[in-house]
């Protein structure tokens, strides 16, 4: 295994990390205002099929990505209506979103003539920076050779971390997730914030699905995400609901996935299923490490009112 192969695998790992990163970022924001949405997989599938369809129709990457995000957000709106307004159990509602998203996306994918299924990609996703920068050794292919969406993804990590922790809007979001009654008393519109948070979450998942279909796979097939949504949910918990850690986790996930193949090709005998298990083992390790220290536990615990419906009259 020579150096260029290692560098190229890291480059591909970063690309693979992006869909999971978008979805995880969205879910962090939804969770931060107290809404747990386990339907990430379904929302990603919707984002993928609608984004890919929009790409064929408009041949515009921007419109395709936004359409994918909007599709995810629309499905999230269903969850918000059920979980926030009607106070349905959030686990049940989220899980049904996976089934609805899977079914609906496969329906949309096969409806119409010629249909989205197995159609050629409508948009080209190209590296952003000029060739001279991408030819730099090491950092060229890995950090400078990515497309614009990857950089937007990283920028969004910074933006959401800043908004959540450094602005009054972020404080309001977190307050709703920690103690909705107190937030309500302070004049924060709890229901509105939760609707907004859930839909931002869906938008993130939709973006992730659209990126997966448009930039990574370059086609739509039924069940395209193959579990990426669940990885995102696990990543949210692993990150302790912090965007920057989620970024690191997502890249780690991409690297470990790709490493399995690189090692197999280099005749190094580490089973790839073992490597793919590592992120989950790491999640356990983090949880154990955190619970060992109460001070740390308070800092990275789940939002206190996560998955708890809020009803003003039941205060």
């Amino acid at each position: 295994m020579n150096d260029s192969v290692v560098i190229l695998s890291i480059a591909s790992a970063i690309t693979v990390a992006i869909p999971v990163l978008f979805a995880a970022l969205g879910e962090i924001i939804a969770n931060r205002c107290g809404v747990m949405n386990l339907g990430v997989e379904g929302m990603m599938l919707m984002g993928a099929v609608v984004g890919f369809w929009a790409g064929i129709e408009t041949e515009s990457l921007t419109i395709a990505m936004l359409a994918g995000g909007a599709a995810g957000a629309s499905l999230a709106l269903v969850h918000a209506a059920l979980a926030v307004s009607l106070r349905v159990d959030q686990t049940v509602s989220g899980l049904s979103l996976v089934i609805v998203g899977g079914g609906l996306s496969s329906f949309i994918g096969t409806a119409g003539e010629p249909g989205v299924l197995s159609a050629p990609n409508g948009v080209d996703v190209n590296p952003l920076l000029p060739q001279s920068l991408r030819d730099l050794p090491g950092v060229g292919p890995t950090l400078l050779g990515q497309d614009i969406i990857v950089y937007i993804g990283v920028a969004l990590v910074g933006a959401s971390a800043y908004v959540l922790y450094r602005t009054s809007a972020g404080l309001a979001f977190r307050a709703v997730g920690e103690d909705p009654a107190a937030a309500d008393a302070a004049g924060i519109p709890v229901v509105k914030v939760r609707y907004l948070g859930t839909m931002i979450g869906g938008f993130g998942a939709g973006l992730g699905g659209a990126y997966l279909a448009l930039a990574i796979v370059g086609t739509w097939q039924n069940g395209l995400t193959a579990g990426a949504g669940w990885i995102a949910v696990a990543l949210v918990i692993l990150s302790g609901w912090r965007p920057w850690i989620a970024l690191i986790g997502a890249i780690m996930y991409g690297v470990l996935n790709g490493l399995g193949f690189s090692l197999q090709l280099a005749d190094i005998d580490i089973p790839s299923d073992f490597l793919r298990m590592v992120p989950f083992v790491a999640a356990y390790a983090v949880v154990v490490a955190i619970s060992a220290s109460p001070a740390r536990a308070r800092k990275v615990a789940a939002p206190a009112a996560l998955a708890q419906p809020y009803a003003r009259e039941s205060r």
């Binding site: 209506a81 899977g102 299924l117 090709l265 299923d273």
Partner: protein
């Protein structure tokens, strides 16, 4: 105000529930129920009006049970295509299918449902062996065909396809196409058929290009486009300029198109997708088998047991070749194809060495055709890679 809100929310609930139901019914997650037994496409049923032209088979009912979506563009599409060809051969025959039936209890229910709706023949398209045994026992007047089954029952036929015949010829084309002499070959799990396909493909590639090496990659998944994309990139980074595979995503074509390489399909015709990168690929056609079985059942001469078929039996055909495949290449392939059909060429004739240096098939020996279904637990010389322990 509160009251108004309540009535609004009940309307909202009804709308949402209706939406959810519609969505679920449209998808492939709700196919276990009898109501989703859908009529096969029109070309199979239109023949009802053509009774005058010959015999009428409208009192014969065939139900096919698919393990995934009929539009998956691969395994299930192939089965349905074979089923429709069978239906075309019997004017008026009542042919229908159910989709997305997972092995286990859902499959048992689906087989029972098919019998209850009056099926004369039920075709299971994946490993449903253990799910349909009891149903077959309890309904001796109904006939069953299951893919890759083996239990001996008087009303059950098993079938499995000799993909190695197709793989060998695809391997020849790949060996002629590659310039780097490195061919990538990602697969799902180390099953006998997967290893056999890898071996046949490699032997075919080596026949026309002794320098070729095939890099096998076991992915531990049958379908995961993001993972498969990484696998394709990893193989391309190792220098592979041709990829053949036995997994589900179309992403190999995307990756090969970016790098001006070529891709083979696995029992699906994706020649329209990234056409420049498309090299070709064998297809499975079970219709010959289905037609024979229906004829035998109607004649009262059904023979239970295992059937195994390849090129000679008409079970293997080929998708259109891509633009890079020249007539000279096809001439070589066509010659071998004819010899396989005639039985004058045996790809597994010894001596054959595995990639550890052991002589796995000695000079003068071979693997008899009927036993190939159980081959292989070795990888032939020229394959870089190891069968992972399971």
């Amino acid at each position: 105000m509160e009251k108004l809100f309540r009535s609004k929310s009940s309307v909202l609930v009804s709308i949402l529930l209706a939406f959810t139901l519609i969505a679920a019914a449209c998808g492939d997650d709700d196919s276990g129920s009898e109501s989703s037994v859908s009529d096969a496409p029109a070309d199979a049923t239109e023949n009802d009006s053509e009774v005058a032209t010959g015999e009428d088979y409208s009192d014969f009912k065939v139900v096919m049970i698919l393990d995934g979506s009929a539009e998956d563009g691969g395994w299930n599409t192939t089965h349905l295509r074979s089923g429709n060809r069978m239906a075309d051969a019997f004017p008026g025959i009542d042919f229908s299918y159910v989709e997305a039936i997972e092995p286990g209890q859902p499959a048992t229910n689906a087989f029972q449902d098919a019998v209850d709706t009056g099926a004369d023949l039920v075709i299971g398209t994946t490993f449903y062996q253990f799910d349909m045994m009891e149903v077959a026992d309890e309904n001796p007047d109904t006939y069953f065909l299951t893919w890759a089954g083996f239990e001996d029952q008087p009303n059950v036929g098993h079938f499995s396809q000799a993909t190695e015949d197709g793989r060998y010829l695809d391997g020849m084309v790949a060996g002629l196409l590659t310039e780097s002499n490195i061919i990538g070959y990602p697969v799902g799990f180390p099953y006998a058929e997967v290893n056999r396909g890898l071996n046949a493909f490699t032997l075919g590639a080596q026949e026309v290009n002794p320098d070729v090496e095939v890099r096998a990659l076991y992915l531990n998944t049958w379908f995961d486009p993001a993972i498969e994309q990484q696998a394709a990139e990893a193989l391309a980074n190792e220098g592979a300029d041709v990829i053949a595979h036995e997994v589900g995503a179309q992403v190999y074509a995307t990756v090969m198109a970016e790098r001006s390489g070529y891709v083979f399909g696995y029992t699906n015709d994706w020649s329209d997708f990234e056409p420049e990168a498309w090299a070709g690929g064998f297809l499975i056609d079970w219709s010959t088998y289905y037609i024979e079985q229906v004829e035998d059942i109607i004649a009262g001469e059904f023979t239970p047991g295992i059937s195994y078929g390849g090129l000679a039996e008409g079970w293997i055909e080929f998708a259109p070749y891509g633009p890079a495949v020249t007539d000279d290449m096809l001439e070589l392939v066509e010659e071998r194809k004819q010899q396989i059909i005639d039985g004058t060429f045996d790809m597994f004739a010894g001596p054959i060495f595995d990639n550890q240096g052991n002589e796995v098939i000695v000079e003068g020996e071979t693997i008899p055709f009927a036993e190939r279904d159980f081959c292989c637990d070795f990888l032939v010389e020229g394959i870089i890679g190891e069968i992972p322990a399971t």
